[in-house]
Each structure stands twice: as C-alpha cells, then as structure tokens.
Amino acid sequence: MNPVKLSLSVMTAAAALLAGSATGGRAAEAIKPAIVYDLGGKFDKSFNEGVFHGAEAFKARTGIVFGEFAPTNDAQIEQGLRNFARKGFSPILGVGFDQAEPIKKVAAEFPKIKFAIIDGDVNAPNVQAISFKEYEGSFLAGALAALTTKTDKIGFVGGMDIPLIRKFSCGYAQGAAAINPKIGVTINMTGTTGAAWNDPVKGGELAKSQIESGVDIIYQAAGATGIGVLQTVADAGKLGIGVDSNQNGLHPGHMLTSVMKGVGVATDKTFTEALNGTWQPGNTVLGLKEQAVSLAFDDENAPLISADIKARIDALQADIIAGKVAVHNYAEDNHCPL
C-alpha cells in the first residue's frame, strides 16, 4: 500500500497540524505527491524539467518525496496516472495538455484522489487545472522584438495549430503592435497534428522562408520543432526568442530573450496547497503578476538589450500587472483582434 517510504518527522508534524483541515479525512498521513511527465521527457531542458525542479524545491523544503513517471508513448500516460492513483498517491500532477483526457478518465475512477494538470482544461470536482497567461509574456516578447527589429518585420513559428499556441502568437502580435502599429508580423504554424511538435526540419524551413521575406526576429512556440527554428535563426545571424524555459543559452548572441513559464512555481504551489489543506479544485490561472510568466534577462542576452529598451519593457510589464494595459486572450473567443 505504501511503496514509497515517506519518513521524516517534519511531515508527521505538518500532518498533525493539518488534522482538522485536510480534505478526505486522512489526517494521520501526510501527502504522497506524484508527477506524470509528458512525452518530452523529464530532462527536456524545458517544460518537464521545470516541473521537476519545482518538485525538487518542494522536496527540499518539506522533505516529502514524490513519485514520478516519464511515459514514452501516449498509452502509457493513462497507465501511469492510474498506477499512482491505485497506490494512493495524491495529488497527482499531469504535465501538458495531452493529459487532459486521461486525467478526466482516471479522476472519475478515483474521486478521493486529488489531480492537477498543467496546461489542460479539465472540469472535475477533484482536478485542479493550472494554466498560464502565456499571452502576457508573449506580449512583452512582441514589444521587445518590435523595439529591437531593424527591418520592422518579425516572425512567429508555432507548433500544432491549436488555441493554446494561438494564445502565444496573438499576444506576440499585440505586443508588437503596441510599440509599432505598422510592424509586419508573420505567423506560421508547423502543422495540424502532433507531429508538428517534432519536426525541426520543417521548423527550420519556415524560419528560412520568414528570413527571406525580411524578418529578423523569430519567436518560436513549437516544442522540439522550435530547436530547428532557433538553429536556423542563429545560422542566419538573426535573433530568436525561446519559450517555456530559459533558452537564451542555446545560441548566445542570437537569442533575444525567452518567454518563461513558471511550471516549477505551479508545481510547488499545488503540492504545498495539498500539504496545507488549502488545495482547491478548479481553474488556476497564473500570469505576470504571480511571476509565473516572465521574460528571461541574463548575461547571455544582456549585450542585445539596451537599458532604454529594458526600462520600456519593465514599464509595460508594470502596466499589464496594474491592469492599465489589457492583453487579449485568444482562448476566450478564439479570435485575435489583430
């Protein structure tokens, strides 16, 4: 029943404190969190690795170990979730929109187990759906690109053509237009199937075609396809913008910035809430304000961004957080105002 040895007095103490508030009434036991990664794998230098680091931070603080599973194909996702649920793990965190259907199914089978999903939309009494305001970070990236471009043409390469990716492209175009209404934004999607996430060759060709048309900064939100995009951009001596995690180090000097998604923060948050008994099902949306979405500024891209430009981006960021600048969310009405 208890394959993972959860020891440590910290937890026992915490559990005792929580006795009254813990949902499910299993106060004597502390939580047994688990993670099911998405197909990108645990060490993908991006999304999944961010989740892993968030969970590690939680472990370092509380001493609570977590179960983890890295599926190698779609079918294993559901098996992994069910395995953890059967063994009594809770909360179980699924990474990526691919897991929405499996989580919906498994969550219904185990109503007492808490589930959480990142980037997925699941409505169930025991599921917490965590999503991000990618459009806010993308807005800043678009603004930064518009301030930096020399040709007044910037580009975007997305992976699969789904509303999630349109959120990125729409925010990017809005940010660029906020700086320069006449700027040309070329938006390309790699494909309409899952294969669009793993086609660096096509990503590179899309980037080449954009560069030929005069584009000098390209933002990618295309998973592994994006590696091809950033490679081509660097080979051509132009600037790329990374996504999800800090990709500035991939091609120093050719990476303007990266739009980082705080999946680690979200992971830590959902585990901590479960531990404290404040965990709630439903939708949680994290953005610039929660510092769950941000642009990466570090030594790698410092030479590319002047102090003036940095100040304007910081001001824009403050305006968005204060609500003075509204960024349209594509997912609300499946429409981009630009």
């Binding site: 794998g41 060759v201 592994a224």
Partner: protein, 320 residues
C-alpha cells in the same frame, strides 16, 4: 525571380531525403524486395549519426555511424524476408515500429533530454559549401543568381544525393550487376537457372537501400537540422515510396516525383498566411493537405499505369 529562387532553393534542400530514400526503395524493389522500412532506417540513421556526431564532434564519423546502423537494419530486413522468406511488408513495418521506440528510449537513457540528442555545434554538422566563384558571380543577371543562390550553398550530401541519380541509372541499366538485379526482381527462377545466387543479389539490393537510407538520415540530423528529435523523419520514407511508384521504379522519373513533392512542401511553407489575389488567405489546413490532394489527383489520371517489378514482394523458393 526574387521569390522563385528561394522557393527552388528550398525545393532542392527538402527533396534530398526523398531522393535518397526513393533510390533506396528502387534498388531494393528492382531486386524483388519490398521496402516499407525506409522510414525506420532513415530514423535510425538520423539518431545514430546525431549521437556519434555529438560524442565525437565529427560529421563524417556521424555519417559512418548512420550508414552502419542503417546497414544493420537492412541486413535484418534481408534476413527476415530473403533468408527466411517472411512477409516483406511485415518485416519493414516491424523495423519502423522498432526504430520509432528504440531511438527515443536509447536517447533518453544516453542523453537524458527527452529522447533528443544534444544540439550539435557547427563543427559537428555538414556545413553549406560555397561553390568557387559564387560570391563574385552573384551580380551577373539570371545565370549568376542561379549559380550563386541555387546551386551554391548546399551541404556536400546534397550534391552527393543528386549525383547518385545518374549513378543509379547507370548502375541499373549499364552494368552487369544492374541487369542481374533487375532480372532477380522480374524472374528470379531464370536467374537461378543461369547459376546465379538469387539470395546474394537480393541481399545486395537491400544493402544498397540501407546505405542510401543511412545517408538520408544523416542528412536530416546533421545537415538539415542540428541533432535528432523523435520521429523527425515525419513520414518522408512513405512519401519516398510513393515517389518511387510515381517514378515507375526508374531513377530519373523518381527524381522528378521527389522534386515535385519537395516543391509542394516548399510552396506550402511559403503560402502559409499569405493572401492570394482574388482568393484571400488560404487556411493552413488546406495548404498542408495540398501535397496529398495532388498525389491522389496525379495517381488517378496523369502518370499512367505504374507496373512494379514482377517478382516484387514474392519470396523466392528454389525448386527442388
């Protein structure tokens, strides 16, 4: 002209894996062995070449690694379908499925980057070659532009791939080996009667296919992009097979079919998000379906009957 040259340039680049894999299928099938496993062999070669190049830092060692792994898979296909007379389609499909899983699993175990190989530095990749005089001739109208932008600036594997097309034609139609290989695909019993080894000839055809798929996979991982990503062949092996059937199992028509697919691919990339006069912006989905729609259209009426080698797919059983 300004938009035409980049389009043709892209066509040349994206057609290379199709041309190599198409020729690979052609050698295998002219010898009477169906090769559905082009996709798997390319994918395995892509993974092997990227891994070797990442570890050693040499694209040439990567190429050697890619070819070696592809040859091993070709031997496996030969062993199942020639030596043991198994179903050739099943064997090829098994290779595709095996490789799709194995590359990712090995990649995760070796590099811990979710099945990808590390990003290759420029020194570990096949770089674009600038042909002599390309920069100085760039300003000459038409011909200079064609030479410096279209012909120059590709990696050595691109030139190799296109040089292999006449080579394949010559080998098949002008050499003793080619005659025998074709005979083995049409009427293996006659070849056997003449005292030649059907098994040996078919193995040679299958191994040539392995060699060519090895180069194709290496091109994708170390020239076109900078490393291996799961399923990066993205169905090119199957498209190459279709191109070979379009090309009626002949090298030059196969090249033409590959270039047509490449052109459609390059066109699809450039048409995305572009408004066309009188029609407006074409949806992404339609553009991406275009190559397949055209395939059906061409197959239905334009290329005429395409007749495979007579003994294609039939295991040879020696009469006793």
């Amino acid at each position: 002209m300004n938009s035409l040259i980049p389009l043709l340039d892209a066509t040349i680049r994206v057609s290379v894996p199709l041309v190599l894999a198409g020729l690979a299928g052609l050698f295998s099938e002219r010898g009477g062995v169906i090769d559905i496993g082009l996709e798997g062999k390319m994918l395995a070669a892509a993974f092997a070449s990227a891994s070797v190049a990442a570890v050693t830092g040499s694209p040439w060692l990567g190429l050697a690694g890619g070819i070696a792994v592809s040859l091993v898979l070709a031997l496996l296909h030969g062993f199942a379908s020639i030596t043991h007379r198994g179903n050739q389609v099943v064997s090829g499909m098994a290779i595709n499925i095996l490789v799709a899983g194995l590359t990712v699993t090995l990649g995760m175990a070796w590099f811990q980057q979710g099945g990808q190989t590390p990003v290759l530095p420029p020194s570990a990749r096949f770089q674009e070659l600038i042909l002599p005089g390309a920069t100085s001739l760039a300003d000459v109208p038409v011909l200079g532009a064609l030479y410096s932008h279209l012909l120059s600036g590709h990696s050595i594997l691109v030139y190799l791939a296109y040089a292999l097309v006449p080579g394949a034609w010559w080998a098949l139609n002008r050499t003793r080996f080619g005659l025998r290989l074709r005979a083995v695909g049409e009427n293996p019993a006659a070849v056997d009667t003449a005292g030649l080894s059907v098994t040996g000839l078919r193995y040679r055809g299958v191994l040539i296919a392995g060699l060519l798929c090895g180069i194709a996979g290496t091109y994708m991982a170390t020239a076109q992009s900078a490393g291996f990503v799961r399923d990066m062949t993205a169905g090119k092996g199957y498209i190459a097979l279709a191109a070979m059937i379009f090309g009626k199992w002949r090298p030059f028509p196969t090249l033409a079919a590959c270039l047509l697919f490449g052109l459609l691919d390059a066109l699809a990339i450039r048409l995305q998000g572009v408004a066309i006069a009188g029609i407006g912006e074409i949806p992404v989905q339609f553009i991406q379906a275009l190559p397949y729609i055209l395939t059906v259209f061409l197959l239905a009426g334009f290329i005429g009957t395409s007749i495979p080698p007579k003994a294609d797919g039939i295991p040879f059983v020696k009469e006793r």
